[in-house]
């Protein structure tokens, strides 16, 4: 329990109105989109980096756990205050400080909503490519902390590729500034890359310097339909081998298309094995050539049908299904486990087959979406958390899925992160040495283990 004097010292740092302790309030900060939940003992909503620094210093001294919270949209349990203590909510950090068109970068506070930032830079003819599914409600700070990806990752990279620098509060309360407005920076260790994706376990981001690029002039969208999974997967590899880098290569399997069609009929071929939504972008001159090349490859590799959008309305029509995918699944089951196993692109047919087999073996519904360009699959397990027997089978299926992904030379998580939910698999991928190096980093920066404890690394590894 947090004692009264501790609470009042926190209140002095951030103002009384920004410290919540009532049960009703704790309930509202006990969850995230995963089934995990735990009430914190206090919610602190700071206004600036100095306040965070003071709060963290006090918490560190008293050994109180802190869980940073952005938009609360992660899907691996990152925002759950598993050890109680303080939830530190970043809503007041909502300012875009500067969009520097000369240096093609922007300085933003960590609580800016990703989609708001997209709108602001795009209004200036600029482009910030990372576009996680939750971008209309996620915060840039959370995107950086989880190194968020999205459909455009294959061509444009992930959040990490756009972080030039940042300000953060370390677990001992000191303020760390890294990087700056230059693209080149080799001064010392590359700590930027270390902290990006640290999931709040190494500190709290407050300000970010993000790289932006010119907005492509034009784009074209198409849908390629396949009767065989293998054909679909081979096509993806062939497109890339033909030296075309589409912005988007979104894979949907039959089960996924059926759910989408049942939810919003948008003309997806529900009898096909798979479809791939392909988008290319670039200059007005290049885009028609690219789409033609992609079309040829698709035909060559057995696409039974190809739809190329010629108008914006047609493009929206093609996207409508993919955009409704998550909603259609959420509508069809009370609990979703959204996974993001990622394998080398050439192994997509194997992982899709494994997942389909697991669904049959454990009697589960697992539609599959995926960013095929980077082998990043999204099997979505449709279940009901109140059905304990089924949840047991879900967990077994997930275990086997991860094992299979690793055997195929893949990884547990392509873009969601480890959080709470994947901690137990960490050693499978990293081995003892990998865990040990990560543990040493964590212990060096957070010897009292107060910062987002029990996430990323197994608790016993950190103790």
């Amino acid at each position: 329990m947090l004692d009264k004097s501790f609470i009042s010292s926190i209140q002095q740092c951030v103002g009384r109105e920004n410290v919540l302790t009532d049960k009703e309030d704790m309930i509202c900060y006990s969850y995230d989109p995963t089934p995990n939940h735990q009430m914190p003992e206090a919610v602190v909503i700071p206004n600036n980096i100095e306040e965070i620094s003071k709060v963290v210093k006090l918490a560190n001294k008293a050994g109180i756990p802190i869980t940073p919270r952005g938009g609360g949209t992660n899907i691996c349990g990152n925002s759950i205050p598993v050890k109680g203590g303080i939830v530190l909510a970043m809503h007041h950090f909502d300012r875009v400080i500067e969009i520097d068109t000369a240096n093609l970068c922007a300085v933003v506070q960590a609580g800016v909503i990703t989609a708001d930032f997209h709108r602001q830079v795009e209004a200036l003819g600029l482009f910030y490519p990372p576009d996680p599914q939750a971008s209309s409600m996620s915060m840039l700070g959370g995107n950086v902390a989880t190194n968020a990806g999205g459909p455009r990752g294959f061509k444009y990279g992930v959040t990490r590729d756009y972080v030039l620098g940042f300000k953060m509060v370390l677990p001992d309360g000191r303020i760390l500034k890294m990087g700056g407005k230059t693209v080149k920076n080799v001064t010392g260790y590359d700590l930027t890359k270390l902290f990006v994706g640290s999931e709040g376990t190494l500190g709290i981001f407050t300000e970010l310097i993000l790289r932006i690029i010119p907005l492509p002039e034009s784009k074209r969208t198409m849908l390629a339909v396949f009767d065989g999974l293998l054909d679909a997967a081979r096509t993806v590899s062939a497109v890339i081998a033909a030296k075309i880098i589409p912005t988007t290569l979104e894979f949907m399997d039959r089960e996924a298309m059926r759910l989408i069609e049942a939810y919003v009929p948008c003309g997806l071929p529900v009898d096909a094995a798979a479809a791939i939504l392909i988008e290319v972008d670039g200059s007005e001159r290049d885009v028609p050539i690219q789409i033609k090349q992609v079309e040829e490859v698709c035909r060559q590799f057995g696409a039974r049908e190809i739809r190329i959008a010629t108008t914006e309305a047609e493009s929206n029509q093609i996207w409508a299904g993919r955009k409704a995918a998550f909603s259609s699944m959420a509508k069809s089951a009370p609990t979703l486990y959204v996974e993001d196993v990622t394998v080398p692109r050439s192994k997509i047919p194997e992982i899709v087959k494994t997942i389909t087999d697991l669904a049959a073996k454990y009697k589960l519904k697992i539609p599959i979406l995926g960013h095929a360009g980077d082998g990043n699959m999204h099997p979505i397990i449709l279940t009901d958390e109140s059905n304990h027997d089924e949840i047991k089978r879900v967990k077994q299926a997930i275990d086997e899925m991860f094992k299979a992904a690793l055997e195929l030379g893949g990884t547990l998580s392509g873009e969601h992160g480890i959080g709470l939910d994947k901690v137990k698999y960490m050693e499978w991928e990293l081995g003892e040495t990998g865990i040990d190096v990560m543990r040493k980093i964590k212990q060096a920066l957070d010897p009292k283990n107060i910062m987002n404890s029990n996430k990323v690394l197994p608790p016993e590894a950190v103790q």
Binding site: E24, I27, D32
Partner: protein, 412 residues
């Protein structure tokens, strides 16, 4: 209307994805999880699971919902958050009663049209005598929300009106707000309908539609009022019951739900099938217009029309028939923050939501802002005053009426 404990399944469908945080007007101001659907749903869930009492604080958070339905529309699993919140408020009302001010409003003021008019008459008197100037500042600001009131209500004007007779009859529901605050909208409606050859049947026995009662969980009075309205139209023989108020329209369309499982159910549903917004009724009966005025108009979608009744294009068609230059504003269907009495009980939050709306209106450069709900209109007029602007707020049918007059001289 389902009681709270029967909504558990729907409640558990919330996957806490946070989509509601992107669209909730209250959350955009408050920025706290208790002020958005997923937080409120979680509070109700914990209460039903026995982990939380019915506390005043919880009630406060539930009351801080505008009922705009933006979250319902954007919700991936389509959790009916508006229904769950109304059911939770009803649950509070049954177990804890209503807070005093609200009790007086629901139980005493709004149940009889005359009483509501009486309250407004006293306000008029107080304004004329300058008494309102003596109000403490916070009450004075709230009193300011209500615009200047007309000399006479529509009910008072009705006696002097010669309503035309015809074989084609349509019913018209008198909304309290338009009756007391904007009688000219009802006059415009009658003029247009009569011009199109309809006889307008206006039962005066109608009472408040019960929107506030429904909203705050006073289901007993909501049913009483609903029944009086159903009865008031029962021997008129009309097939259509029109309203110029989005809130009355959506409330009356929920009468079926209100009586579900009761003996009045069938009659209530038959009533519901006749209720229609006047924009929707007119939209396919109007001539296309070639003559344009130089007036630029923008339109604000009332939540109770666009998301409760799914009426989006009809008012825009009416405006097109009025021959004005139409300029769509950004976020036209985002709530204005009025929320019936939300602006009175939560003035500061309401004003921040309103500021964003007025900014969007301003961007269009329109000199007239049209909207189809008197509650929105009161709020929008207040916002325009607050920002020192001179934009006029009108119902689309007032603009339509003006264009009729312009084209053909005064036909009435």
């Amino acid at each position: 209307m389902k009681p709270l404990d029967e909504l558990t399944e729907e409640l558990y469908r919330c996957i806490r994805c946070g989509s509601c945080t992107a669209v909730c007007p209250v959350f955009s101001v408050e920025k706290r999880e208790m002020s958005v659907a997923r937080g409120r749903l979680r509070l109700v869930r914990e209460y039903l699971a026995g982990n939380l009492e019915l506390t005043g604080k919880m009630r406060g958070y539930l009351d801080l919902c505008l009922g705009c339905r933006a979250c319902v529309v954007s919700c991936p699993p389509q959790v009916p958050t508006d229904k769950i919140i109304r059911a939770a408020r009803a649950h509070f009302a049954i177990n804890k009663g209503q807070p005093l001010v609200r009790h007086i409003l629901l139980q005493n003021v709004l149940v009889k049209p005359k009483r509501f008019t009486m309250v407004l008459d006293s306000l008029k008197l107080a304004r004329n005598t300058g008494v309102t100037r003596l109000l403490p500042k916070n009450l004075k600001t709230k009193e300011n929300i209500l615009p200047q009131l007309p000399k006479r209500t529509f009910r008072e004007l009705l006696n002097g009106l010669q309503l035309k007779q015809s074989d084609k009859k349509v019913g018209f529901f008198l909304s309290c707000m338009d009756n007391n605050v904007y009688p000219q909208v009802i006059i415009a409606a009658i003029n247009i309908l009569e011009k199109l050859g309809y006889e307008v049947v206006i039962p005066t026995k109608v009472v408040c539609c019960g929107a506030a009662h429904d909203n705050y969980g006073d289901l007993e009075n909501a049913r009483k009022l609903a029944w009086q309205n159903i009865e008031a139209f029962s021997d008129t023989g009309v097939d259509v019951i029109l309203t110029d108020c989005a809130s009355c329209g959506s409330t009356m369309q929920s009468y079926g739900e209100l009586f579900r499982g009761k003996s009045e159910e069938a009659k209530a549903f038959s009533f519901v099938s006749k209720v229609m917004d006047i924009n929707q009724f007119l939209s396919d009966k109007l001539p296309s217009v070639s003559e344009m005025t130089q007036t630029t108009v923008t339109y604000h979608d009332p939540c109770h029309l666009v998301r409760y009744q799914n009426v989006r294009t009809a008012p825009r068609r009416v405006l097109a028939s009025a021959g004005v230059i139409f300029k769509e504003m950004a976020e036209a269907d985002r709530c204005c923050g009025g929320g019936g009495t939300f602006n009175i009980f939560h003035y500061d939050i309401s004003m921040q939501i309103l500021d964003r709306k007025i900014e969007n209106v301003k961007q269009t450069g329109a000199s007239i802002l049209a909207t189809s709900c008197p509650a929105c209109r009161i709020q929008l007029e207040h916002g325009i005053k607050r920002h020192g602007l001179t934009i006029e707020v009108l119902h689309p049918i007032e603009l339509l009426e003006k264009s009729f007059v312009k084209r053909e001289g005064n036909p009435y």
